[in-house]
Symmetry: C2
Subunit: 230 residues, 2 copies
């Protein structure tokens, strides 16, 4: 036997699943083993392989499901909105504001500025997929908590509700192990990596920095692509 059984199975499954929509149920390990007359561990190895290939995602106790990956393209000039990326690819995206610890703010907002901390969680295709912590200059965004739900994203709120002419710049990006708070917020299984992106939004109108945001995105759901062309 040249190609191992589990890889034959994995390739075959991947091919079959290509036609399925994200979230579709994949046969369970026991069922797969029965169907193909192999040991459960062999069927499991095939699913392990597909999980590594980011084709499926598992939820203990509930099952294995087709997964999709979105290309998150970051450029120095702007950090593209994740919700745009997801919706453009036909997925569903929504965000909600959550409580969280008040963390020390980065220094980009300026000294002595009163800082508002905002924690948000993003849902993609019905799953918690990312979280963000934003630090904002309080005086530039009065009543933000009430204004935010009326807009698609924080960025459009800054634009439309406050007329700040926001300019978003990406600062730094890397793929890393999630900090404990993020792991808990997103309920990440072991071994899940995240894409970390730091960005800053300046206001063209006031000439000040409005917002600094740290984003953590499940790396199995988002693929980091960096475009550095000027």
């Amino acid at each position: 036997m040249d190609v191992p059984t589990y890889l034959v199975l994995a390739d075959r499954l991947e091919h079959e699943l290509a036609a399925e929509p994200a979230g579709a149920r994949v046969p369970s390990e026991h069922e797969l083993a029965r169907l193909h007359a192999v040991n459960r561990l062999t069927a499991r190895a095939a699913l392990d392989e597909l999980e590594q290939r980011r084709v499926v995602r598992r939820r203990r106790g509930s099952g294995t499901f087709v997964s999709r990956r979105y290309d998150m393209t970051v450029t120095p000039q702007s950090a593209l909105s994740w919700s745009q990326v997801v919706r453009a690819a036909g997925g569903s995206a929504r965000a909600e504001v959550v409580d969280g610890p008040t963390q020390a703010s980065p220094e980009d907002l300026g000294n002595g500025v009163d800082v508002l901390v905002l924690h948000r969680v993003g849902w993609v295709d019905g799953q918690r997929a990312l979280c963000k912590t934003s630090w904002l200059a309080t005086d530039l965004v009065p009543g933000l908590h009430e204004a935010l739900p009326r807009h698609d994203s924080l960025f459009t709120a800054l634009e439309q509700a406050y007329g700040l002419r926001p300019q978003r710049h990406a600062l730094r990006a890397e793929i890393t192990a999630p900090p404990p708070a993020v792991r808990e917020t997103l309920d990440l299984p072991r071994n899940t990596e995240v894409v970390w992106i730091a960005s800053r939004t300046d206001s063209e109108r006031t000439g000040r920095t409005v917002e600094v945001t740290h984003s953590w995105l499940r790396a199995d759901l988002f693929r980091l692509v960096v475009d550095l062309r000027p």
Copy 2:
């Protein structure tokens, strides 16, 4: 049992290995199983875990060895040399020119320019770790094959041997599955991802593009960090 056996073993091993140098031998699966009185598959699961954490690397038939990871920081202005990164972290780095297919060149070099194709392989800590394909404007680098071995890198050759005042710009970076040619060149096992970086080097002296390079780096050996600050 709260924490599974294989994780206890993995954490313990990781702690022990932290003091070992890159390349140090790790106990084999059979030996680990015997030492800790567990099944071989349990010992194997622990090593699987450490491989995913990029703490060890396996070579079938020869053993498991301590691995190290280097941060490859890319900025829009310049793509830092991998050999600098490795040597600064105390690792060993060398490059060699190899034969390879002549591939269609990107269009950045200009129309009608005679193009020289250069394939190089990089060795890190004694292992093939990356490969590069460069397209160069032939007329700007006469006798490059003879000049190259006298320099640390292609970049310094352009600088010192040809006085081109080179300026390197990173263009694009992503983490992806290796193309078959790269998989073969680097003898990559299944499931190994690579960091792909496209960069362009312009000559300040001539005002022309000297070189376009595509680099593929083992993602288990190099961690992509992107710094987008101006």
